[in-house]
């Protein structure tokens, strides 16, 4: 019995070591999987903005043009997004949080606009849209963990 128990212990230890080794040698993307899932707050930078109108035409803008902050803190647990670039706080309440296919999807509404922000839980890439009456904004960016 004791010999069998020893064998079992050795097998368990071997499996544990193998697991740690696998984690250690795994590519960073695998190791980082899910770190942008909203479990901690993120800082997201907007790198491009497109404005579209109902005729189908879209034009590239800058955050400065469209009065959107370049840096946004996304606090999924706190259900809010906030402007990091302004002393006067600008916030958006997150009304819904979904997780689908490795993406965290946030949505909300402000005034006469609705918005959706999607973050790749693995890479942190961000895409967002804000839609109004006959208008739409599409934003792209990158999130990081501060």
């Amino acid at each position: 019995m004791s010999q069998g128990g020893t064998i079992m212990s050795r097998v368990a230890l071997g499996l544990a070591v193998l697991g740690v080794l696998m984690m250690a040698i795994a590519p960073p993307s695998v190791r980082a999987a899910g770190k942008y899932d909203g479990s901690t707050s993120m800082v997201c930078a907007v790198s491009s903005v497109n404005e579209c109108i109902a005729t189908g035409r879209c034009e590239l803008r800058t955050v400065r043009n469209v009065n959107f902050p370049g840096l946004v803190r996304v606090d999924v647990k706190g259900m809010k997004m906030s402007d990091l670039a302004s002393e006067k706080p600008r916030e958006s309440a997150i009304r819904n949080v979904d997780h689908a296919n490795g993406k965290v999807i946030l949505s909300g509404a402000e005034g006469d606009r609705g918005w959706i922000l999607l973050i790749n839980e693995t890479s942190g890439t961000m895409s967002a849209t804000a839609a109004g009456d006959g208008e739409g904004f599409v934003l792209f960016g990158q999130c990081a963990l501060p």
Binding site: V43, C44, T62, V66, P69
Partner: protein
Amino acid sequence: MIGGRRCAAFVGLVSLAVWSSPVDAQPYYYPMRGQSPQQEESDKGQCYGWAVQQTGFDPANPRVAMPAPPPSSYGQPQAPQGGMVRGAAGGAALGAAGGAIGGNAGEGAAIGAGVGVLFGGLRRMRFEEQEQQEQQMQMRQQQAYASQQQNALAQGRTNYERAFGACMSGRGYSVH
């Protein structure tokens, strides 16, 4: 500069409409009671004053009461759409990820005065085609205004001539 030129063009258009308004053939007045030419001139002067008083239209100074002309504001800066928006947003770098971001974080402090939301504060820009549409609409409005003014002037002149003719007829002239 452009607005001034367009405004001048609009004034010219209106002036053209005013002065090119159709002036019907002048009526003739025959003194049926043998009035002298001096008497005829006197009667015409009095009928002129009476007709102007009655119709509010003075052929020597043709004007009609019209609302203010439509503004020719294109070519000038427009207020941003969406009343919530004030200034411009700034950005900053977020390591390598945010390298492409323009602006700076300090300027962000100036924006958002009174603006408490992110997406609701997005400001719409003007598309070229929207500007063209607005210019065309303003041109149409100005043309419609000029046309209305021309019609009003023609109507005023017609009314004046009717009143003048009635006056002259009453003073013993046949009007043709």
